[in-house]
Amino acid sequence: MGRVQQERLIIAGFGGQGIMFMGKLLCCAGMLEGRHVTYMPSYGAEVRGGTAYCNVIVSDEEIPSPVVAEPTAAIIMNTPSLIKFEPMLAKKGLIIINSALVDRPAKRRDVEPIHIPATNIADRLGNTRVANMVALGAFLAKRDVVQMQTALAAVEEMLPPYRRHLVEINRQALGEGKSFVESRSADAIWGKITRGFGFG
């Protein structure tokens, strides 16, 4: 997994899912690694009641517009977001889908989907609100945009003092997301091997 030169990411869901936090966190981690970063929230009427989303760009070069037209990756936390953003994704783009709340898989065949029941995993950890971190962990397992430990440092930097006790569960959630993806890829490879050795 090589270092990603420029990641143009859309993170989307509904209000309260920590969409903006996820975006700022990634942005902060990128800054801590000395890379060029921008973050752009959706603002205005659509924030109220509809889809909340943000754009994050992490890059080795100066960033032109902070507005992402053709994302190289997307983290999708609810169904309306999938409907809105799946078509925009660049070819071979990565799409992380919170399968606990999204009622269908990705339709496109030219993108790489990861279906992860982020909300269920977060519930198991004891706090449904860290579903965003589970999804982010899955994303970071697939894309070397920033290092996991930098993401953790960013969590510590961004949580206000009175929320410091949440650092640990955020760390767990990131880790759960990461191991979910890693175990899946192991399964996938194992699957291929079994097929290869099968009767066909």
């Binding site: 700022k24 942005c27 902060c28 800054m31 970063v37 921008t38 973050y39 752009m40 929230p41 603002y43 205005g44 009427a45 070069e61 100066e62 960033i63 032109p64 517009s65 902070p66 507005v67 037209a69 053709e70």
Partner: protein, 358 residues
């Protein structure tokens, strides 16, 4: 080096105003600059400053007028419809020669329009906007860091020339978050304000007015203003040229579209097309001479703006008498300018004007 922090443009400009010694903010909520009013409402009391959520933008600009009259640094911010309401006050500030900083985080118009990013207030900002023969210094930052630096510059220029200064950004600039450095970046150049109304202890009373009724007096006042504007034109034009030296196709853009153009420039340079970029940093005074020199060898000029053809008028004026064709990529309506659109416009210009690879 001071530590960088992540802030959106609106918050960063607010903190920059405080760093610049401003302790008076007056404003009325309007999207997409609401982060300024909420930031100032929290922050101003912490630094013993004043925050007033005014009853309207009319009141806000007149509160700025009042604070400026007594010698304080004052700022207000708004977005397009609110800035329209402030035009009366800006005219009075100019007429009374008072320093003030006004931030316009532009959105789509006309009328209520939408809340998308736009550059459609270019004429309003650069041509005066309110009534009378006056000029407002207009700064056009293209990143959050530059926005911060322009707030410092705006206060200094306002004090130096006793003139309102406008910072013209679009919704993207106000909303976007970038790493930014604020503390310690401003070298204060505070000036004594003998003209201010501070109580007439030990001196004759001061008066501040723009009503000038005596025969030829207003004419003289206007001539003096114009003389000041010429001085500003001589001393304060700012711009940036990127790979303009050998450019056959010169892009001209300010604010966030200039970033999109910069990326396009890199792509086309890689394909060995001689593309350059000229970015006016002051929109008034418009850096005409610098543009003319950047366009020296250009065979075509492409103006890129998030409006329907406003910046292009200053480009035409700057290149008047030159045979170079000037094309427009204008995107009005509060919609973001996409990289692909700029690329397509450049492709079109290349084929239309027969530009060759090096």
């Amino acid at each position: 080096m001071a530590k960088k922090s992540l802030m959106c443009g609106n918050e960063a400009l607010s903190e920059a105003a405080i760093e610049a010694g401003c302790r008076c903010y007056f404003g009325y909520p309007i999207t997409p600059q609401n982060e300024v009013t909420s930031y100032m409402s929290r922050r101003m009391p912490e630094v013993n400053g004043q925050f007033v959520q005014s009853e309207s933008e009319l009141a806000a600009i007149n509160m700025v007028f009042g604070a400026a009259v007594v010698g304080a640094r004052a700022i207000t911010s708004s977005s397009s419809p609110g800035i329209s309401l402030m035009q009366e006050g800006i005219s009075y500030l100019a007429g009374c020669e008072l320093p003030a900083v006004i931030v316009n985080i532009m959105r789509g118009g006309p009328g209520l329009g939408n809340i998308g990013p736009s550059q459609a207030d270019y004429f309003q900002a650069t041509r005066g906007g309110g009534h009378g023969d006056y000029r407002t210094i207009v700064l056009a930052p293209s990143s959050v860091q530059e926005l911060v630096d322009h707030v410092f510059l705006a206060f200094d220029l306002a004090d130096k020339y006793r003139n309102p200064v406008m910072i013209l950004g679009d919704g993207v600039l106000g909303q976007m978050v970038e790493p930014v450095e604020i503390a310690g970046r401003h070298v204060a150049r505070r000036q004594a304000k003998e003209w201010a109304l501070t109580g007439c202890r030990g001196r004759a009373p001061n008066k501040v007015r723009s009503l000038i009724l005596g025969e030829n007096e207003l004419l003289e006042h206007n001539r003096r203003l114009q003389e000041k504007y010429r001085q500003i034109e001589e001393g304060e034009m700012r711009s940036e040229a990127v790979e303009a030296g050998d450019a056959e196709l010169l892009l001209v853009a300010y604010g966030t579209p200039s970033r999109t153009c910069r990326a396009a420039l890199r792509e086309f340079r890689q394909r060995r097309y001689r593309v350059g970029l000229f970015r006016p940093v002051t929109l008034w005074p418009f850096p005409s001479a610098a543009l003319a020199s950047a366009a020296k060898d250009a065979r075509a000029v492409l103006v890129v703006e998030m409006s329907a053809g406003q910046l292009i008028e200053d480009v035409r004026l700057s290149l008047a008498g030159r045979a170079v064709p000037i094309d427009l990529l204008g995107k009005p309506g509060g919609e973001v300018l996409q990289g692909a659109e700029v690329d397509a416009a450049i492709e079109k210009a290349i084929s239309m004007h027969g530009l060759k690879r090096r």
